[in-house]
Symmetry: C2
Subunit: 411 residues, 2 copies
Amino acid sequence: MTFDPAGIAALDARDPLRGFRDEFQLREGLIYLDGNSLGARPRATAARIAAAVTEEWGEGLIKSWLDAGWSTAPLRIGDKIASLIGARPGEVIAADSTSVNIFKALAAAISLRPDRTVILSESTNFPTDVYMMQGIEAFSGGRIKAVRADPEAVLDRLDADVAVLLLTQVHYKSGLVRDMAEVTRRAQQAGALVVWDLSHSAGAMEVDLNGARADFAVGCGYKYLNGGPGAPAFLFVAERNQAAMPVLSGWFGHASPFAFEEDYRPAGGISRFQCGTPPVLGLAALECGIDLLLRADIREMREKSLRLSQLFIERMELRCAEFGFEPVFPADPKLRGSQVAYAHPHGYEIVQALKERDVIGDFRAPDILRFGLAPLYLRHADIVDAVERLHEVCLSRAWDKPEYRLRAAVT
Amino acid sequence: MTFDPAGIAALDARDPLRGFRDEFQLREGLIYLDGNSLGARPRATAARIAAAVTEEWGEGLIKSWLDAGWSTAPLRIGDKIASLIGARPGEVIAADSTSVNIFKALAAAISLRPDRTVILSESTNFPTDVYMMQGIEAFSGGRIKAVRADPEAVLDRLDADVAVLLLTQVHYKSGLVRDMAEVTRRAQQAGALVVWDLSHSAGAMEVDLNGARADFAVGCGYKYLNGGPGAPAFLFVAERNQAAMPVLSGWFGHASPFAFEEDYRPAGGISRFQCGTPPVLGLAALECGIDLLLRADIREMREKSLRLSQLFIERMELRCAEFGFEPVFPADPKLRGSQVAYAHPHGYEIVQALKERDVIGDFRAPDILRFGLAPLYLRHADIVDAVERLHEVCLSRAWDKPEYRLRAAVT
């Protein structure tokens, strides 16, 4: 890759996604490498939320459930998300948190495999995925077991007891991309269903759920979908699995919520996987983020993201090789998500020192520096600058500063 | 009560809550009797949400989790709600939907009564309460039974099998107020725990959870708390029950969410009943509604609400007696929530015709007209006007209009 300033400028000048940065509120000078934790704010969101608050809620009041499309928002936004992840209309809803949707997906999968007793995952999966499994185990009184295997050995653990395999497509620390089609095939061959967590892939790279014949999937609204802090999450249920009993059987999943029937009667299709009243303001912000994303070409996003990560890695080798950063990302670029990560004994202090230099990265305990590379709003020049500032931090041995140590002890 | 115009004007003039109406966005002329379905919009919410979107999210980005108090919002707002419902700080969180919180409360209660097998409720409870019970029954594979009894007989059904009794303090149709202390005492005497649904009482009347020695409670953020459409709900867990295992054991309920530990280790106190990432924008709107409510005297609100319902009832007797409205509210004013309801064979059509006359009420299938009387923003004169417009609707026999019939068929 071309590293001279002119070459970097040329890469940015011919970037087909270069127009998108201006659609986000991002202060000049700031290099935001944390879009995989909280996506940046689309400019359009402010006016959309203001309209939802003052016109739809304030003026329209209760009538807006129909007139402003509030009641159909979970399905409407779900359909938009479907187009980003290789799902069909009617297979995705936007609702609840990722954690709650993991529960719904696991519980539905278990109901489809009543003779099996194991939820299987990998030991280093994102914590909330594992925690939700453990909650189900506790609630089942021992009937269901939450089992974790080593990441490399998880497919070998598939046996006739496994009802459902829960895996994340792009690992939150290493960024390793799992082969969704192959893993799904092997799990289904063993008679299990698969729940994919797309939190670190949806909106950053091509995802093809139906191409992989996936059963269930969940994902996060506030990372690459740029839906805002704590945005509603999403749930995919393949059409063939939609007859499953939703355990969180709330009134918005009823066939006729406003008939106020005494018995639960699940809605057809994906609707039954709604539970309570939809979070209208959060959904409005989420929809802005997704509408923006839908204007971009996801293949171009993936190509740019891989360019950005390759550039980051090569710059690190050139500028920071002597400072003890240990790569925590796959050697093969095709297996890398939209991020790079390094282990470093002073990871926490370095992330703090970078913040003071206007580079926002992420620290993940115990020692991981994680840099998210959202292709919609980052420039190639930002990557070069970020590594330069990291180089400065290392030269100044910022980790010796007592104030960073103190904060590390309480985080 | 004084019904002449001067008397009504005098009631409004000396209303200690009269200043609150201007704090809400309410068009002059509109009579909004649906605050028990969706509370009106506090004016302060627009600026607060705009700041959350552009300053906290847009400018502060990921740092706002600490700097803008996002991560502590569920507990901070929970403590504010606690002061409205007779709970202590640390006993309430604002999180998820009412339905999801019902699940959490029921699951926690069941875990505290492992030898019992029944969740008991009344047959006419709000549908989502019953539906959530039924989801637990289905998921338990028959170990747990969701049992409903007639409203009058529900306490007689308490036996050694009942793990938990789920009741709503103010009935969503009739507005009947349950005696929380007495019901709780009887349930606990039978060895059961009680989950109270406060959706139609919190923020409208005095609620004294600890005075009644309540075990668990849930409630809605978008009715009398004026938190906005689909606002986050709340969950109360009495301190003595907080060691219960939260089944929805997501990462925000972990003792150390950002340590990314492999095993779930529940946080102490109410925090463990959080699940996924908090819905920041929804919480910001909710907090505005609650902050406004906290400036009012809840006893004055209750007194005014009872004055409004008495006025409504007396005006109905005077003006609409011959039109076949059947009262569906308790004869004893003390047992009335902040609403009045009538059954009428043309209930649906009448509610539609009232809308055209700028009176927003609510229809609840099969034949109930429900009028919510939010004391913060309604005036006594509004009640008189509303009944006058209802009188006009009846005189014109609006239910004969074909357009209302047509819409009734599809709702």
